[in-house]
Amino acid sequence: MESSRVPRAAPGRRRTRRSLVDAAGLRFVDGWMLFATLGLAVCSVTVLSVANQEGVAGAPDLFPQRQAIYVLVGIVAMAAIARFDYSRFRDLRTGLYTFLCASIIATFVFGFTSRGSTQSIDLPFFTFQPAELGKLLLVLSLAGFVIDGSKHGSEVGRTLRYLALGLIPTGMVLLQDLGTSLVYAAITLAILIAAGVRWTHLAAIGTAFVALVAVVLVVLPWAGAPLLKDYQQERLTSFVSPSSDPIGAGYQQNQAKVAAGSGGLTGRGDLATQSKLGFLPERHTDFVFAVVAERYGFAGAALVLALFALLFWRALRLMTLSKNLYGTLVAAGIACAILFQVFVSVGMNLGIMPITGIPLPLMSYGGSAVISTFIMVGVLQSIHIQAHAGQRGPWVR
């Protein structure tokens, strides 16, 4: 591709160019994926700068400014990861997995509580949410375990082992935050599917999941031993009929729906009262999509969805492109993690999914999520680069 574009008459220039990209180790970067990623980050900073930030007195631009810094940090991290061969992570699976579990446990020990749940560790310069980076750690380690274990044991035993490995961190995160734990579960499931686990096994897992949901949401509270915290239960159930509780959990759902609905085809622009006047809660995090929808209408919201679709397609494409099965599994895990989060978050903003507090990848304000997502994309880019490097030969690390 590169060679056909560069005129042969100027070999010197060509060499200079190549060496620059090569020096960065980014020659085979997926341009479309990069475009989608950076496009979403630009959208995020734009939306955060127009959403009303009454919550931060005296610093109305705090959120967009910080988000821009997170994006820059994320880009650097993404570039650094991309030039690194992701296959190395496979060897580090046990270490990654241990670190994942340890960091989640650490939030219990050192974490501080916000909005009813403990999710973050307060570092000197940054409030770090290990569960965000944990999504990637789970993908990288679980994919490694799957490949490692594919030679041992019966099929059922393997399925159960992968499942157990995925559900241990899922369960631990569940104790902190329901939404994030659902992402963990989705990642686990995606890797199982990509790994070729039998459909009958998947069906059994699905059935067990439905039964579990029924037990948690209906049977246990009825029996007087609820597993979910009250606010979690409320959020999950009020989605069924938000108007039944217009000032409680249903309030958020209703306000988000009104915000999104009022955007119309082209948006309300500066008249976007739902977000400007603060009727829309959590408008810089969980409900950022409703802000886009209100202010920029169907056109803007569809653009954001299109960017996500592009990002997802480029990620999923790596399943068949990657140089090894580990890359396939990692790509599937990351792609599905993004898909799941986008669907649940946007669905929640549009009133068709329960309120679970899942951030919209790259769009929602938050350093841990933004930087972690950039790192995930970096891993995807690494898969892409490695696949091309392996094929084309001249540049092999």
Partner: protein
């Protein structure tokens, strides 16, 4: 960009499985993703493009808060401009629900720290807060104390930083500088109830309106126009901007015809007697009411706060004298001898007697087998019209009543004087009273509602204001005023003019076209002469009261039997004689002789009006009734 075949196998692939199943699974995931993205896009389309307008409307509703800025009601002044009903600001202590902590413990702490400030237990505050928040529209403050004292308000203002949740709000309520004076005619203001809200479009919950008296009749003048402020608010109800406002228009003031001094004189005289009663003082030239009162009375200030059921009941409790009952216009009593001038006018007009005709009054008379007596059967000897008025000879009038039976002349003239009809005063609750006629009684008899048909005795009773006759002081004042002014039946009114806040006259109330009756001037003069003698000649029935009054008065006592109660005491006066400017009617329930209880009240009213006092007199014939 190079595409790889699905089954491409690269060197060094240690884990390379067959790529076909992976492709299939990737396709399945892609299909699922396509489905999910389609769902989101469809939902987005339906929400934004299909039903978007609804949500725009909802979003717009969301952000505005329309508050009504109530206008202060106009003042009510007496004829000299003295304030009878004013306004005062009341300080209400309120809690801002958006700043009251949600945490039960913190909330409890707040209530406990407030308890000593508002001098109520914390439990009471908690209950009150809960019920206010439940009953009030969202975004409004919860009122803890409606009418706080200044000390508490100062304390809260000084310690505002300790209680950021507490608001002190100002509100206008009625103020009564003259306390209970004229309570009945002024009426009161109350909060609009469910029925008002249903029948009137211009009211919203929490609005006040005149409930009785002037406040009710002239509500539209006094009310003013509420302004509205449309505020842009955020989700916490914090005000973000003003959208459009109309300022409230304060209500107009009403200048009454009432003379506050005269009103006070009448009320205190009536109160000193200690019996239920009422008085009316009327300008005989134009129907302006100078005073109008009823005893017992109420303190109108109690209506500025919610009344308990027991309190409200007590106001109408007959055992307590039904303080809310305005006897001056709603009472219905037999009037006794004060009726005699009407009988005299009727008989003279019919030519049944001449003023000089003399009748022998032996103290009693038998008509159709029934004996009718003077008060105490006292014989007055030979009496002509003047003398019959002066000494209040019943026998003289019994004969006239007998002669006019079957001719309807007495009823005709009674009706002309306004008996049995409401006077049309600008107050609600006026009673018509009752003018007994043969037709009325016979109809009742036919339906079995009474024991006998009309008889001559009924007319005989009517001639001295007894029997079935019922009238109120206002009707008697209007009837006497017609006698005094030579035949004009006035429509009494209470309002001179309406004024704006700055005191500029907006509308002068012209006396409404009054009804004329044809009174023979000679007859009228002779009756007036008799009434003057009754009041001030030594043989007159009220000589002891008016004998020493420097202004010439024409007045008549009345003592009406009102079984099962004690005698109803009456006095109606016109002054100055012979060309009166004021008519005064007084009645006292169970007050005994007219000269004993009602006449002294009338004297106090006239003393105030003329600014004169009566010398004590002794002697006189001692004629009373």
């Amino acid at each position: 960009m190079t595409r790889y075949t699905h089954n491409f196998r690269r060197p060094g692939d240690t884990d390379a499985p067959a790529r076909k199943p992976i492709t299939r699974r990737a396709m399945i995931i892609a299909g699922l993703a396509l489905l999910l993205f389609s769902i989101l896009l469809l939902r987005l389309w339906s929400l934004q493009v299909v039903t978007g307008d609804e949500y725009v409307a909802e979003a717009n509703d969301n952000r505005t808060l329309e508050t009504r800025v109530r206008a202060p009601r106009g003042e009510v002044l007496d004829r000299d401009g003295e304030v009878m009903v004013g306004n005062r600001s009341r300080m209400a202590i309120q809690l801002d629900p958006t700043r009251v902590p949600d945490d039960p413990g913190e909330r409890r702490q707040l209530f406990e720290s407030l308890a000593p400030v508002v001098d109520r237990p914390a439990d009471w505050i908690a209950r009150r807060y809960r019920s206010e928040v439940r009953d009030n529209p969202p975004g409004t403050f919860a009122t803890l104390v409606e009418d706080s004292d200044d000390e508490t308000v100062f304390y809260l203002q000084e310690n505002g930083n300790r209680f950021p949740q507490v608001h002190v709000s100002q509100e206008f309520v009625r103020r009564y500088p003259l306390d209970t004076t004229a309570a009945h005619l002024l009426g009161n203001v109350g909060e609009a109830d469910a029925e008002d809200l249903e029948t009137r479009d211009d009211l919203i919950a929490g609005d006040t309106l005149g409930r009785a008296g002037i406040e009710e009749t002239y509500d539209s003048d006094l009310r003013g126009e509420a302004g509205t402020t449309r505020l842009q608010v955020d989700s916490l109800g914090r005000i973000k901007g003003r959208l459009a406002s109309t300022s409230p228009e304060p209500g107009n003031s009403i200048r009454l015809t009432i003379d506050a001094d005269l009103q006070i004189a009448g009320e205190s005289a009536l109160r000193s007697i200690g019996l239920p009663g009422a008085f009316v003082a009327l300008d005989t030239r134009n129907g302006e009411i100078l005073g109008l009162g009823s005893n017992p009375t109420v303190d109108p200030a109690i209506f500025t706060r919610p009344l308990s059921e027991a309190e409200a009941k007590r106001l109408w409790d007959e055992d307590q004298g039904a303080p809310m009952f305005n006897r001056s216009i709603a009472g219905a009593y037999p009037v006794g001898s004060v009726y005699k001038p009407i009988t005299a006018v009727a008989a003279l007009d019919a030519g049944l007697i001449r003023p000089d005709d003399v009748i022998q009054d032996n103290g009693k008379i038998t008509i159709s087998g029934q004996t009718f007596t003077n008060a105490g059967s006292e014989p007055h000897g030979p009496v002509d019209l003047e003398r019959a008025m002066e000494v209040s000879s019943d026998v003289y009038f019994y004969l006239l009543g007998q002669k006019m039976n079957g001719t309807d002349q007495l009823q005709e003239w009674s009706s002309q004087f306004g008996i049995g009809e409401p006077t049309g005063i600008d107050l609600t609750g006026e009673s018509s009273g009752l003018l007994p006629t043969p037709a009325w009684r016979n109809a009742l008899y036919e339906t079995g509602d009474t024991d006998r048909p009309w008889a001559v005795g009924d007319n005989v009773q009517l001639s001295i204001g007894q029997g079935d006759l019922q009238a109120n002081p206002l009707q008697m004042a209007v009837a006497y005023a017609a006698l005094g002014n030579g035949g004009t039946i006035l429509k009494p009114n209470l309002v001179l003019q309406t004024e704006d806040v700055a005191g500029r006259v907006l509308r002068e109330v012209e006396p409404e076209a009054a009804r004329k009756i044809v009174l023979d001037p000679t007859h009228r003069d002779q009756i007036m002469d008799g009434l003057n003698k009754a009041a001030q000649a030594p043989d007159g029935t009220s000589y002891q009261v008016f004998g020493g009054f420097p202004v010439e008065v024409a007045g008549k006592t009345g003592t009406a039997e009102r079984p099962p109660y004690g005698d109803q005491s009456w006095y109606v006066a016109l002054a100055p004689y012979p060309d009166p400017t004021i008519a005064v009617a007084v009645t006292v329930e169970q007050g005994g002789f007219g000269a004993d209880t009602a006449a002294p009240v009338a004297l106090e009213i006239l003393s105030s009006y003329f600014d004169e006092t009566a010398r004590p007199v002794s002697g006189g014939s001692g004629n009373v009734e």
